[in-house]
């Protein structure tokens, strides 16, 4: 579903991605681990066709994202590190707008409220302007937008950054539910515990290279931690 083949990305002389090949299948949660600057966000941007690859290919649902920029995006729901919303609109209005853009239909208010609730946003905040929201609250609206889209694939760039532990936990449950209904999930994270807990597969990146891939079922949390640190120090 989310696939790259020998993907290279240069920024001038700097090579941000080196021959990355990954394949996230429906019903999988793929967690990308790696230090800041490893190239995780760059990889996500390539899936969204916000960046063009220097070499190799990016496929979403079997389609090259450069040839099908709009179609491939319609198969994806994306939650960035920082969800950006319209400040003068309320959280509910933002959700209503983006969900309608994504699905082509206007959702009724109670449906929107239940989506926000599902993402962990306090019902009393739904009608307040987003300019008064904290980072975590915006993140929750972003999650609700992604869920409303009902996409075949989820692209998540450190989605739980800024979320309180309870919300992060609820989010993990949402991801698991999505996985169970056949959604392919690619998420970047710094949270090894979360990766082990919800992820089905884990990839470790360093300076643009994918060093290893493993099944999360095959390792314990402490094994994963020591493996990760080992790679980072090498």
């Amino acid at each position: 579903m989310l696939k790259t083949i020998q993907l290279d990305k240069h920024f001038g002389s700097h090579q941000a991605l080196k021959a990355i090949s990954i394949d996230v299948k429906p019903g999988e949660i793929y967690c990308l681990l790696g230090a800041n600057g490893a190239g995780k966000t760059t990889l996500i941007n390539l899936f969204l066709n916000f960046l063009q690859p220097t070499g190799g290919q990016v496929l979403v649902n079997g389609r090259d994202v450069q040839q099908y920029p709009l179609e491939s995006k319609r198969d994806i729901a994306y939650i960035p590190e920082l969800v950006m919303l319209y400040g003068v609109l309320s959280g509910l209005e933002n959700l209503e707008y983006f969900a309608a853009l994504a699905t082509g239909e206007k959702l009724p208010r109670d449906k929107l409220l239940s989506l926000l609730q599902g993402a962990g946003l306090d019902a009393t905040a739904a009608d307040r302007r987003v300019s008064t929201y904290s980072k975590g609250m915006r993140q929750k609206v972003g999650i609700a937008i992604a869920m409303a889209k009902n996409a075949k694939a989820l692209l998540l760039d450190e989605p739980t950054s800024g979320l309180d532990p309870k919300a992060a936990n609820e989010f993990s449950q949402l991801l698991t539910k999505a996985k169970d209904s056949g959604v392919a999930v690619l998420t970047t994270t710094h949270d090894l515990f979360h990766a082990k807990q919800t992820g089905t597969r884990i990839g470790i990146m360093r300076r643009g290279e994918l060093l290893t891939e493993l099944n999360s079922a095959d390792v314990s949390h402490s094994e994963l931690e020591s493996l990760y640190l080992q790679y980072m120090e090498a």
Partner: protein, 464 residues
Amino acid sequence: MLSLIARREFTEFCRDGRLFWTGGIILLLLLTALAVNWQHQRTADAERLAAQTLDYDDWVNQEARHPHDAAHQGMHVFKPQSALSMLDPGIVPYVGSTLWLQAHRQSEVKFRPAQDATGLQRFGNLSPAWVIQMLGPLLVIILGFNAFAGEREQGTLRQTLSLGISPYQLLWGKALALAIGLGLLLLPTLLFAMGMIVFTMSGNAMVDALWRTLWLGLGYSVYLGIAIFVVLAVSAKTATSRMALAILLGVWIVTTMIAPRAISDASRIWHPNPTRYEFTASLDNDLGNETRKAWMENFGSDQRWGSEVGIDQWGKALEVDDKAGYKALDHQFHKLWDTFDSQQRVQEWAGFVVPLLAIRSFSMGVAGTDFANHRDFSVAAENHRRIMQDKVSHDLVEHADGHGDHHFDYKSTREFWATFPKFTYALPDRKFALAHNTLSLAILVIVLLAAMVLAHRAVMPRKA
């Protein structure tokens, strides 16, 4: 999808108060200008009608006198005001609307056509046309400068595009929102004007005025459409909304204040019109030549009013002299007017770069307040003057020349004065206006299409 995007954008205009404050002030200005102009026009119309009637009564009620004296007193003719001068008074405030028809000489045209009066100079007489031409684009800038640049800064553009929305859809949705915002200015103004037309006019004149209003609406929609797409293109191309605003304000100042002035100067360098002094000298010269030729043919001497022609031929001489001048007058005046026309044409073509010039020309033309209308009136007035003059000469030839040395004792009476027709002139109808303004409208439409292409290219996803 478009309406969704437009509605969101529009909500933002409303919530941050931009539309209310800027748009509200401009709308207030528009409606005030319209009401003031309308009031002014009603008074002027009433005065014109009264003056025209009084003047003709004065003519008919003259005491018995030598007809040539009467011809020197002459008649005043008043140009009817176009109903739409309340929207666009055009050049009327500069060229006036009264002509004095008197013996021998065609009335002077004003040597300062409104083409000179650009930008701030016209601020003196605030008209709805001026407000839309100058401030309409400014409102588009204020509402639209951050359409793309601001969303890029906020990150919402990324969020939107990540949903698989085409940037072209986004462009048209934003354009629609701006169009609705501007429609909130244009529509009430047009409806207000149409209301007054229906309220105060009737019959064909009303239908004509309503059509003209619709045409004006079309012209201004195209003009503001250009502004919308240019603003969106710049906003899409610039990195920050601050930069977009700076660029757009610069473009606004250049295209509404500096360039019109410069192009108006250029048009006069290209097609120089004579000064009043030069014109009079050249006209006198031509008149002299033509009349001397005619005197030679008719009286065997080129000494005008010389002793060779007796007083018993005074009426004949007058007729010969005046008629000989018609050709020279026609030639000189049409040459002058053609020069003004060519200057105007240069400005219309410059509309490709400065759309303000094209819409100004279109607007005046459709409102019936441009130079072409003034020229039509001047020609009609001159024809009327010649009818009067010829009647007088003819009367002298018939009745006075026979008196020999007692020529100047002849007096005409009321019966004769009453045979002079009234000056009945109606402004050309809308067909005339459209025929004279297809060029400027075509230019506006072409510029609009170009602006659309520009905007499409500006939002096109960048290829690495």
